[in-house]
């Protein structure tokens, strides 16, 4: 096995872990642990009132947009790096000839 096979194996295991999470919980809505943290707090201390509220809260659609924006910014940087490596390798090859 060369390294590419290990990469494929790695990505397969990642996919299996994530997909099995969904398959094992067919009826779950996969609510975030952030929210369940809040639930535990209201269980242990029912009278607790948050003493400060978010300055601004985006609506559902807007939140999705902003999360996507966050991922896109990061993905752009990583993609740029991978692409420039590829190009660098190509230039190296053509100079050897």
């Amino acid at each position: 096995m060369n390294h590419r096979h290990y990469y494929i194996l790695g990505f397969t295991v990642m996919a299996v872990i994530l997909v099995s999470a969904v398959l094992l919980n067919p009826n779950s809505d996969f609510s975030g642990t952030d929210d369940s943290g809040g639930d535990i707090i209201s269980d242990t201390d029912p009278d607790y009132q948050p003493w400060f509220n978010s300055l601004w809260e985006p609506s559902g659609e807007l939140a999705t947009l902003l999360f996507t924006l966050q991922a896109a910014i990061g993905a752009l940087v990583i993609g740029y790096f991978l692409g420039s490596n590829k190009a660098r390798k190509g230039i190296g090859r053509s100079q050897e000839k």
């Binding site: 872990i17 642990t33 269980d43 003493w51 985006p58």
Partner: protein, 220 residues
Amino acid sequence: MHIMEGYLDPWWCLFWTMLSAPFLVYGFYTIRRLIREDPAQKTLLALSGAFIFVLSSFKLPSVTGSSSHPTGTGFSTMFFGVGVTSVMSFIVLIFQALLLAHGGITTMGANVFSMGVAGPFVAYMAFKTMSKAGIRTPITVFITVFLAGIMTYVTTAVQLALAYGTFSESLVSFLSVFAVTQIPLGIVEGILFTIFVDYLQRARPDLTDRVFPRRVTDES
């Protein structure tokens, strides 16, 4: 790792902010020095930040039936240590607190401490130990990244347990939510960075030399 806005009493907010602040200041100066002394480091700094941006925006499903964010801090921890990672985490947490109502301004200190200081600190110690012991790179990377993620959530559980109810009882219930959900996600994140670091070592050994021993080159 996000403690929600308003969910920690002011004293705890102050306490965690005081603990995080020195790391942020140190990290800020480290970044400035790195950029000035060795511009090649900019590439790795950008990648470190980018991975934290991408991964912490994901909400991944876990076998427990809930979902959680990976932290993405392992990469930055291996290359730059705790200070720089705390600054990167701070930037992402500001973005999420102001634009997404995720985490919060009052809980910023606590969240920076768990994601940017405590998780990376444990991971960095493990990384240094494993590197010295000559453990193979893929195993070292996997364990470091896994620890950075999981210890972040363990820290969050401790922070909430300190603030609510009897410490030991609360700790168990918070750990069962945060840490257990995070285990499969930590494994996924660990595999991702193991592959990426291996790729980096092959494609750009000039960047990884400083931290990882140069591997025997095979052009296969």
